[in-house]
């Protein structure tokens, strides 16, 4: 019980801190924020239930007025902005990433990568695109077109989520709550 609670709280804090880390520049000039990678890691490391709860806790901190989203954004306004769909999709994305990491019958790194893709890309976009379409009054294909520029960066994050989860499991066996 205490272990679940402290992991949820610490990973909520980790997502917040990853928002302060300067954007990571990839070799070919694509900037990626570490924060959405943190959402994927919540699922792949903590598992479905704890991962989703950690993300919800983080969003609660943002909603009550802390500027924790990357770029120092926060407060209630972000939930009325065009990207609100992505915020609502965050906990579900972590949940899906977690459940795939828990259940996929393959090595942990690959399972985490698959989970990060199904959760952090497919599920997240399934929330983000309708949100964007609603806020900007566009059709779903039009909204999908608008965010297609982010797809390459997100795919890189998927690979990184798999790599990081794999490294954690190798360095400290038993540390992954998603696989214990």
């Amino acid at each position: 019980m205490e272990r679940s609670l402290s992991h949820i709280a610490l990973f909520a804090a980790l997502i917040a801190v990853l928002g302060f880390v300067p954007q990571i520049m990839l070799p070919f000039g694509v900037p990626i924020t570490a924060q959405s990678l943190g959402i994927m890691l919540c699922g792949t490391v903590l598992g479905a239930k704890r991962g989703a709860l950690a993300v919800i806790l983080f969003l609660l901190l943002v909603a009550i007025g802390l500027p924790l989203l990357s770029g120092g954004r926060g407060g209630l306004g972000v939930f009325a902005s065009p990207t609100a769909g992505f915020l609502i999709g965050f906990p579900v994305a972590a949940f899906v990433a977690g459940i795939v990491t828990e259940k996929a019958p393959m090595a942990v790194g690959w399972a985490a990568g698959l989970g990060a893709f199904l959760g952090g890309v497919i599920t997240l976009y399934a929330f983000g695109i309708p949100g964007l379409a609603l806020m900007l009054d566009k059709s779903l294909p039009e909204a999908a077109l608008m965010i297609s520029a982010f797809l390459p960066g997100d795919l890189i994050k998927v690979a990184l989520a798999g790599l990081v989860t794999h490294s954690l499991a190798r360095m400290r066996p038993g540390v992954l709550l998603s696989r214990s």
């Binding site: 709280a9 990973f11 990678l37 609660l60 007025g65 306004g77 400290r172 540390v175």
Partner: protein, 199 residues
């Protein structure tokens, strides 16, 4: 930890947080009902006047907080400039600005303690239904406390990296950062158990 609450005291700070949140819900629903630019422009002007009446500093902060909308407004301008649906584009842009500004205004004029008290009141029925809302409060407090701790830890990790390598740490920093969070979580769990559990 800095919050987004405005340090300049305004009359709105004294309104109950619950009332402000309820008004915000109503205002947002109404804003999304409006489909022509004129009423929305009037509301935007009224909002701007309200901000200015609350003080210049607060108005400037509010303006700065709207900056993340910039790329979307540029996109809308481009899109509707090409399709020629100017009125529709203006409506969407004004709705976006007013809805976000209203929500930011509530955040700016409500202290963190008032927000937390309102959250407690809203979750009180859940506590009566037997759900462990005390744990939510504890988790919120823990997360808040450990944001600066983990932030310092990551700075240390970056410094250690820079001492050994001329290159920037990049994504590799994520592994020790996640390990730090996991280790810290285990320590906290032990301390909580030693102090009688999470309730």
């Amino acid at each position: 930890m800095l919050t987004l609450t405005s340090p300049v005291e305004t009359p709105l700070h004294r309104w109950p947080a619950g009332l402000k949140l309820a008004l915000l819900c109503i205002a947002t629903v109404l804003l999304f009902r409006l489909t022509t630019p004129l009423p929305l422009a009037a509301i935007a002007l009224a909002l701007a006047a309200l901000h200015l009446a609350l003080g210049r500093a607060l108005a400037m902060t509010a303006l700065r907080q709207l900056r993340p909308l910039g790329p979307f407004l540029a996109l809308l301008a481009l899109w509707h400039g090409i399709t020629g649906e100017i009125a529709q584009g203006t409506t969407i842009a004004l709705r976006l600005i007013t809805a976000v500004a209203c929500a930011n205004l509530v955040t700016m004029t409500t202290r963190l303690s008032d927000m937390l008290a309102t959250l407690d009141r809203l979750t009180a029925p859940l506590a009566r239904a037997g759900l462990p809302t005390r744990r939510l409060t504890l988790a919120l407090a823990l997360a808040l406390r450990f944001i600066p701790v983990l932030s310092d830890r990551i700075d240390t990790i970056r410094a250690a990296w820079s001492a050994r390598s001329p290159r920037r740490p990049g994504w590799r920093i994520l592994i020790p950062a996640a390990l730090a969070a996991l280790d810290e979580a285990d320590h906290v769990a032990e301390s909580l158990r030693a102090r009688g559990g999470a309730g």
